[in-house]
Symmetry: C2
Subunit: 477 residues, 2 copies
């Protein structure tokens, strides 16, 4: 960590983010334009995200598998909207083993096509359905404007791909996974998200309908944080995924796909981070509590380190780090772990030894207000409670921030103003014309029609036509 | 599962293997030549392997990270032996985002080069050392002759990359990881391996020295099952990984790399499999025990299923599957789970209900001999004990098989004969000429100079010169 201060979020949010990712050791730029190296601290965070999601996938009957990285170019062309959506973003392998390939291979940007091809081989009868497979892996999309975690040429994600006998089951699955994403975001990441449906213009290339969880970042911009797509029979028809039903008749299957990526690390940083650095939610933090010993003399050191050992021994069920560095001061350590977003700091000094206490310092409430002194006994329960408190408080703060910055503009002029620094939650007639007008004139896009709607109807914020659904307009990452 | 029988291993070992991989649902062929799809059952096995290794890596201070898939072509060229070794096997991206790239990008065949580049940025001082990073991921090598799991264009693996201040530390790390691989293979996979050093001809392209664990497959061929390389200062010099030592002098670091891949699944299949199918070691098996209910009448079904529920409830600490399929017979189920290698079958029939027992059938001992009847109480302890017994017995059987088929040929003529169906453990002078002669005349290669040596010296099995080390000659996958 360098001693220099981060820019504040107010000064320059983009620069605050970029420097923070680098200085907190989450990621680094790779030598290939637009690619990133996820450093051990960032990857440990991703591993915790993976576990939290994987556990939920398995509990709902999904299994993991691995499909190839390289996809024949012709596969991409089988679904019309899909190829249109992805062809500008492809990385193409044209040489293999020193020879020019007869058919170029695409480095997967997503795997609907190759998985569709395999499903057409595996699925024969209604007895083979549903197929509920997820894959953890990397994909490549040739993005022009990149930003660490948010948009990189290569990124890491999971992509679920399921096949069902009926349209109803596919729709149920699509919403089940959307809800799993929302549950994870809210409960494990303390990121309050709005779950909703994408407009036609914003949906996945090849989907019948797309759903999303949208989160508000610290600069009030929206971040699409996970998506779940009902693919209808589009890919089943393109890849001939057919099964014999109970009446021995051949039917096309109904498929879904859903994904969440390392982009979500960006959501965590920009939802909770403050001017001192990262603030990580306790359930996902690679280090949940850091123990910092404080002493001046050798005699103090001996008694402090003895207490530190006793403290540590009580906390084996948490992800704990003892910062034993000798070459830096406790003050430096405080700043360092604040920058890295460790939720709880436990200080042990000579006075604590004397009194049989330790000092807790909450990352989410800097300064005196976040400090408390607790007895060295029953630390396990106290740390557990404090981490839960921090987890809940982060969610509440972010939720309040979103509510304060979500507006209900009275007319189109007001909408144009509020989306410059917030979200607008407004009636919309559903027409692409109104959507495009807003985008062109304000740079705000429709983020989603939230599943939770007020009901009734109102006039479209753009054209005034009666509308039955409200939409979120916002500038987005 | 089709009803057709597998070829026996004696009839056609290669065909037995290929059909078994497909029919046990471990993997399938992908539409791109030489690539595979790892199906859910195969991936669940890989996940268990990953966990067993990852746990060991973290316990020895390693952390995970992720480096890019795409490597600038020029990077490969910086280490002379490395580029010579890998250039025939490369997949090359020449087009990105619709444009021809100025510099083609290699899909990583291994990551020494790009990681070396990043380490040169990160490592400045002796305080930054050692760096102990591992990566789980996929790599691509354009192999001409492929075989599911054993040799595929894309495969999955972990690659550890470490940097150290001294040659001694790098060598210690190289052997530490070799021992971790051996410990995993023996204790978790019941695959008895021989740990040793590779000859110059067989070492990794760019390494100072390479170490390997070698296993004997059911046809007596050797399989290289994991490797650990001491890279000396080769990559540090190629990528300028330098640090200031305690005297403020600039030094090159010493690096290592080590990897184990989905190839190891092939090792498990070919070490333990029999003519009925897979035999999976209990510690890694995705399903450790399958419960098969047996009944004819509805009344029997009710009481049997009730007992099955009680049995299952006792076994929550194991990976258990209850086979409730109605459309197939118990006999079909027995064959099916035997094919898939589930270590223990627990049968529950009307007689068991009456007597308060269940039947255990061991996968490693087919037929009556592997069957026993145990009371329905204290099943947890009994299953744990049985799985441990099977785990140990698989290792013992494979170890005996290797010992029976490892020979100590008296002269070169005898060596030529024994390596056609076994290993030869012989003195070797170390010269490439003798090594090449054996390879040309018998197709057997030097597998390794085992770390455990008899000591003393003897005449080279090829040229008769006095030699101080014994080597394993064997035909290999």
């Amino acid at each position: 960590m360098s001693e220099e201060k981060l820019p504040t979020r107010k000064e320059n949010f983009a620069e605050w983010y970029n420097q923070l990712v680098l200085r907190a050791d989450l990621a680094d730029y790779a030598p290939v334009r637009g690619c990133m190296v996820v450093k051990p601290y960032g990857w440990a965070l991703w591993e915790n995200i993976q576990q939290a999601l994987d556990h939920r996938f398995k509990a709902t009957g999904h299994v993991n598998a691995a499909f190839p990285l390289l996809i024949p170019q012709s596969f991409l062309e089988k679904e019309k909207e899909h190829v249109e959506g992805f062809s500008p973003e492809l990385a193409v392998v044209t040489i293999g083993g020193g020879e020019v390939l007869e058919e170029p291979l695409i480095v997967r940007p997503t795997s609907e096509t190759i998985i569709g091809y395999m499903y057409s081989k595996w699925i024969k009868s209604y007895r083979d359905l549903p197929v509920l497979i997820n894959q953890w892996g990397n994909v490549v999309r040739w993005e022009m404007r990149t930003k660490l975690f948010l948009r990189t040429l290569e990124f890491y994600w999971q992509e679920g791909h399921t096949a069902h006998a009926t349209a109803e089951e596919a729709q149920e699955e699509t919403l089940r996974m959307l809800n799993i994403y929302a549950d994870f975001a809210i409960n494990d990441a303390s990121v309050p998200v709005v779950a909703g449906r994408k407009s036609s213009a914003e949906k996945f290339a090849g989907a019948a309908s797309s759903y999303t969880i949208e989160a508000m970042m610290g600069d009030t911009r929206a971040l699409q944080s996970g998506t779940s797509h009902n693919l209808g029979q589009n890919f089943a028809k393109a890849f001939n995924i057919q099964y014999l039903d109970q009446n021995n008749e051949l039917q096309y299957a109904w498929t879904t796909s859903w994904g969440m990526s390392t982009r979500f690390i960006g959501a965590i940083i920009m939802t909770h981070g403050d001017d001192q650095g990262l603030v990580l939610p306790p359930r996902l933090a690679p280090i949940q509590a850091v123990i910092v010993p404080i002493y001046k003399t050798e005699a103090e050191k001996a008694s402090v380190m003895e207490a530190v050992e006793r403290v540590k021994a009580q906390l084996i069920n948490f992800r704990i780090k003892v910062d034993e560095r000798e070459e830096v001061t406790p003050g430096f350590k405080f700043n360092d772990w604040e920058l890295r977003g460790v939720p709880l700091r436990i200080e042990v000094g000579p006075k604590d030894v004397e009194k049989g206490t330790v000092a807790f310092a909450r990352r989410d409430i800097p300064g005196r207000e976040g400090k408390s002194f607790v007895p060295q006994t029953q630390l396990e329960a106290q740390v557990a409670e404090m981490l839960q408190t921090i987890q809940a408080s982060l969610h509440e703060r972010a939720r309040n921030f979103r509510m304060e910055n979500t507006h209900n503009p009275a007319d189109y002029a007001a909408l144009q103003e509020v989306v410059q620094a917030g979200w607008a939650f407004s009636w919309w007639c559903g027409s692409p014309e109104c959507e495009t007008k807003v985008k062109d004139e304000t740079k705000a896009t429709t983020r989603c029609m939230p599943l939770e709607q007020p009901g009734g109807e109102g006039p479209c914020i753009v054209c005034g036509k009666p509308s039955t659904e409200k939409v979120i307009f916002a500038r987005a990452y």
